[in-house]
């Protein structure tokens, strides 16, 4: 019996050690980075309450990671975090230095480069330099339009104008965002980016209070959802809530939302989402009755 247990335990240990040694990936880096980032989140929650030693500790921890895993493809992520730590300390030049390292040393990491530019823009915003900030944001649109941050930026610019109390500029930025999103949709296939862009387009229409157009885009999103098996349930609920609030609250047209849901059920009778959508359509039918009778 002991021999058997010894043999089985040895096999498990040998496999564990073998696979640990064969791991050439960034797992160890990810683990350390996650732990430091957790400290970062605590500090970011109340930067004014954090001691200078705490900031220094964070910077030291990030620098140590850069030295230890210097060949990893995740290094730009560490520089991003270092830059963000300096931003919390309101040391804008030091923050920009770290973001610029990413742009200089890793010019082909589009995702990280886009994010680095975005944070550089934020530092200019904090320094009340809107011209430099906008210049950087426009560079993101030009160089990294299809990255996550690139897709966020058109509406962010509009939001920035709104915050600066420039509604005409904001409206113009939203129109540009709509044009850009439409161009991307025409070019993109059924990738997860497409779903994201469609939702951004719907948000842009909502901003412009073009309710019918927003509903058309949301209907398209809903009809395409079953093609994305790993879609986040929160995203599904977000789309349904948006359809309901636009159709019912803005257009006071229950039939419009019910029509969208009935169309979904016809097109995807066996989808996992169908029972849920059927319930929502039934609930809207119920809600419609009293308002129709009055």
């Amino acid at each position: 019996m002991r021999q058997l247990i010894g043999l089985l335990a040895s096999i498990l240990i040998v496999v564990f050690i073998g696979l640990s040694l064969a791991d050439t990936d960034d797992y160890a880096l990810e683990k350390h980075l996650w732990r430091i980032n957790r400290e970062f989140t605590i500090v970011a929650h109340d930067p004014a309450g954090a001691s200078p030693e705490k900031f220094n500790q964070l910077i030291e921890d990030y620098e140590r990671l850069v030295k230890r895993f210097s060949n990893s493809g995740q290094i730009p992520r560490i520089y991003l975090q270092m830059g963000r730590t300096y931003m919390l300390r309101r040391q804008w030049n030091e923050a920009r230095d770290n973001f610029n390292i990413i742009l200089e040393k890793y010019p082909h990491s589009d995702q990280f480069d886009g994010e680095a530019l975005f944070y550089i823009g934020k530092t200019y915003e904090e320094e009340n330099d809107p011209l430099s900030a906008l210049k950087v944001y426009r560079q993101i649109l030009k160089d990294y339009p299809l990255t996550n941050i690139g897709l966020e930026t058109p509406l962010y610019i509009a939001n920035y104008f709104q915050r600066m109390n420039k509604p005409e500029h904001a409206q113009k930025a939203v129109s540009e965002a709509i044009d850009l999103y439409q161009r991307i949709i025409e070019q993109s296939d059924r990738s997860s980016n497409r779903l994201r862009v469609l939702r951004k387009l719907a948000t842009a229409y909502v901003w412009k209070e073009q309710w019918q157009e927003a509903l058309q885009v949301l209907e398209k999103v809903l009809l395409e959802l079953p093609s994305y098996p790993d879609v986040d349930p929160d995203a599904v609920n977000g789309v349904i809530k948006s359809i309901n609030s636009i159709a019912v609250m803005q257009l006071n047209d229950y039939d419009k939302a019910i029509g969208i849901y009935r169309g979904f059920i016809r097109q995807h009778p066996k989808s996992e989402l169908t029972p849920h959508i059927q319930e929502i359509a039934n609930a809207l039918e119920q809600l419609k009755k009293p308002s129709g009778s009055t």
């Binding site: 696979l19 683990k31 996650w34 098996p229 790993d230």
Partner: protein, 306 residues
Amino acid sequence: MTKRRQVAMPVFFFWNLLGEKVEMSEHRSPIMVLRTAYNIILTNPVVFYPLWIMAFVQLFILEIFFFAPRQPLAGFFAPLITNLHGETFLHYPYNFALLIKWFDKVQIPLYVFFDSFFLGAMVLIIDQINDDKPVDLKKVFKTAFFRYIHLCLIAALSAGLILKLTSSYQMAKKHFLADPGAPWFLKKPVFYGDGVVNLMISVLVLSIFAFVIPIIMIEKKNFFSALVLNFKNQLKSLWLVFILILLPSLLYVPIFLLRMSWQKVDALPVPELSGALLVVSVFVWLFIDAMRYTAVTTYYLLEQGK
């Protein structure tokens, strides 16, 4: 002896499924049977032999799933993980969420095709111990091999019934929670009570088919005959068997509660804890299975007068 017991000890009764009032003799007391089972596994560690192999396979699978998002296994698993769950699950600490997800998913096929074989072998070991024979492991595994298809069938039937009852409960729960006329004070326990209900369903189903494996292995009956004989025996003692299976199963409750509260791996101070908990749960199940199957087999042999 009988007279003394009538005077000195309280006499317990229970009602079997035929509606007959039955005196709870010593071997009909679940505590006594469990105590006997505990003594058997304590004095005969050979009972654990098949269970150690089961635990080994569980831990080996856990190990493979743990390394699946990392090189060199990522070459095969990474596209699968990305397509099924998204790229996030390739990275720390969400690889632990994937570990839990996949480990739970693999339990039913493992139970049907693998555990059934070793549980059958374990039942035969207990039978040999009961006969005061030296345990012949070669013979035990050979017999289990020839009874494998019947063992798989009963395991598949149990697993299928558990899944069916669980999904039916989920449907009923959904209707109950959506019903505005349902008693409001029951809604909260029903909403959070999935774990307890699932545990009771699995204990009930395992109790209903409790004697099938002993009959297949000890009486060498085929699956269908074993089912019929099982129900004949169960008419007399279903509730007792239910308690025999329930009491050891309660050992899993602390693990279950921890798993519930540690569902969000990124909210844990040390995400590795969720993986460690799975390892602990493998050993807890090892002990639970040892107790459950030893108790049920012992009780079956006592009932058969062996």
